[in-house]
Amino acid sequence: MPSVGKGLVIGHHQVSDDMYEIEFILPAMSAECEPGQFVHIMPDMDNGPLLRRPLSLYDVDKKSGSITLLYKVVGQGTRLLTRVRNKDYVDVMGPLGRGFSLPGVAQNVLLIGGGVGIAPLIYLARALKELGCNIKVLYGTGTRSELVVFDKLRQIGVEIMPATMDGTVGYKGLVTDLLADKVNPSEIDFIYTCGPEPMMAGVAQFAKQNGIPGEASLEEHMACGVGACLGCARKLKAEDQHYIKVCKDGPVFSFAEIDF
């Protein structure tokens, strides 16, 4: 069950030019968190902005009761969030939304993340590892300094294939080109992806062409985060009449449900 509470910040540091990692203790909430869900965080209760910011679960440690978020500074809210310090409390609501579905048996899974979109795939990788899955991660960014989650991925124990636009690490080019060039679709049972929409569109197309099922995590501006305000509306397919709500119906959707 989701709740709202104040998390004690035990770690907050910059991991790249514009990305930060924040860890806080909130045991009751941590115990409820599933991969692919998100929390709605208030960057600063006293000085605004008005609304909470939805951030996906990057890592969760149910033993210590902690939740970790990876975020990119994109505006006023995330800029204010960077000012939160160790031992401060952050006001958090969650976990919210429908997360990734996990396989019943161990599978060969492919995780494809772009930029800060890698965040929800880390907690997912941890859960998949516990299920005994064989995990391959394709991770695309602009340049070497933006590849920020290698330590976590190594610790979890996955095969990592990086792609950078400038070729400073790994494959030179788009992560979707890496996918087409280097991944043998017959070795993959399921694909999970999160990142810029054109990237996810390419991944979904690859999956459909090769008959591989999979899921994508979407992003949308939100107000309430619980399906009440109907603000984060979008059509999953062009011909749909009905608008789904990313916060409540998602943020994770199967490739079968959505046309990018």
Binding site: M1, P2, S3, V4, M42, G48, P49, L50, L51, R52, M93, E220, H221, M222, A223, C224, G225, V226, G227, A228, C229, L230, G231, C232, A233, R234, Q241, H242, Y243, K248
Partner: protein, 313 residues
């Protein structure tokens, strides 16, 4: 001021009667900000809220406006949802029973394209149990027909309120638009139409521009501004109406804490409604009710009605 002195520990009375709606406390949650209640059940006991005013409901299902539908603005937000809702029949059969089972005080919110549609929805509601009152959305800025255009013309306000009144025995509460030159004139028209109370205020029409894309932020171009940014406007309008019209007022516009709520009560609101604040703090309705009660205890005020309009000169 009639200070009914109370002894420590003696209970204060925060229940109110809003034009026939008995509320256990003066704090309601505003239409469109609380879904059908269930969305917030994990965060707040639904039966503890003064009244839940559910999402605006039309005769037929509506899909709403194309996105983007919301945008944050300084001390506020714009929304252009476009009255997305499943239609009155589905509301009555699928959403209302749950709220009743939870013991919630439910106020329906209705909207239509024509006066006949408003009357038809009111008549459907009349045949059902479990609704305490009808709030009339005659002020939604986000739909092409109906809504705002009803709320800005005194003659139509009177006629649409009278039409709904003739179809129902429930208290009728028109929600007034602030997008008018003279709010008192509109409030008087609603009174003449037979309204039992007034809800004030709906959102202020506004817009925002994305300078990167060089186009309006909202898919609907215009949207309704809500949040703390509109509080001073709401207070001023309620003050004006309280002086001229006898009807009880459900006041709201940017309430974020109990101090804000008390401002509304002191300019004449019998009860208050919380809208955008729900998005920030999902149990704000309970917090505000508790804060009002504490304020009364500390200031030796026995009955909340003693505070209504106390700041009006």
């Amino acid at each position: 001021m009639n200070k009914g002195l109370i002894n420590p520990g003696e209970l204060v009375d925060i229940s109110v009667n809003l034009g026939g709606v008995k509320m256990k406390n003066p704090v309601a949650v505003a239409s469109g900000t609380f879904g059908y209640g269930r969305e917030y059940e994990d965060f707040i006991n639904l039966s503890s809220i003064g009244a839940i005013i559910v999402k605006g409901t039309t005769l037929e299902v509506r899909n709403g406006n194309k996105p983007p539908r919301v945008a944050e603005t300084p001390a506020g937000m714009l929304n252009a949802i476009g009255l997305e809702n499943p239609g009155i029949d589905k509301f009555l059969t699928e959403y209302l029973p749950y709220l009743n089972q939870k013991g919630a005080t439910v106020i329906a919110n209705i909207a239509g394209n024509t006066i006949e549609e408003y009357a038809a929805i009111a008549s459907r509601i009349e045949s059902c149990q479990g609704i305490a009152a009808i709030e009339m959305n005659i002020s939604c800025p986000n739909v092409k027909q109906g809504g705002l255009q009803f709320g800005t013309n005194p003659e139509t306000v009177m006629r649409v309120v009278a039409a709904v009144k003739s179809e129902t025995s429930l208290p009728v509460i028109p929600k007034l638009s602030p997008n008018v030159t003279d709010i008192v004139e509109i409030a008087k028209a609603a009174e003449a139409g037979g309204a039992d109370a007034l809800a004030m205020i709906n959102t202020l029409l506004g817009m925002a521009v994305d300078i990167k894309k060089r186009q309006p932020v909202l898919g609907n171009i215009f949207g309704g501004l809500s949040g703390p940014a509109i509080k001073p406007v709401a207070l001023r309008m309620i003050y004006q109406v309280y002086k001229e019209v006898k009807l009880p007022i459900l006041g709201g516009g940017g309430i974020m804490n109990y101090q804000d709520a008390l401002e509304f009560i002191m300019v004449g609101a019998t009860a208050v409604s919380i809208g955008t604040g729900n998005f920030v703090n999902p149990h704000i309705a309970g917090d505000v009710a508790q804060g009002i009660q504490q304020y009364m205890e500390e200031n030796h005020i026995k009955n909340i009605n003693e505070l209504v309009g106390i700041a009006v000169k």
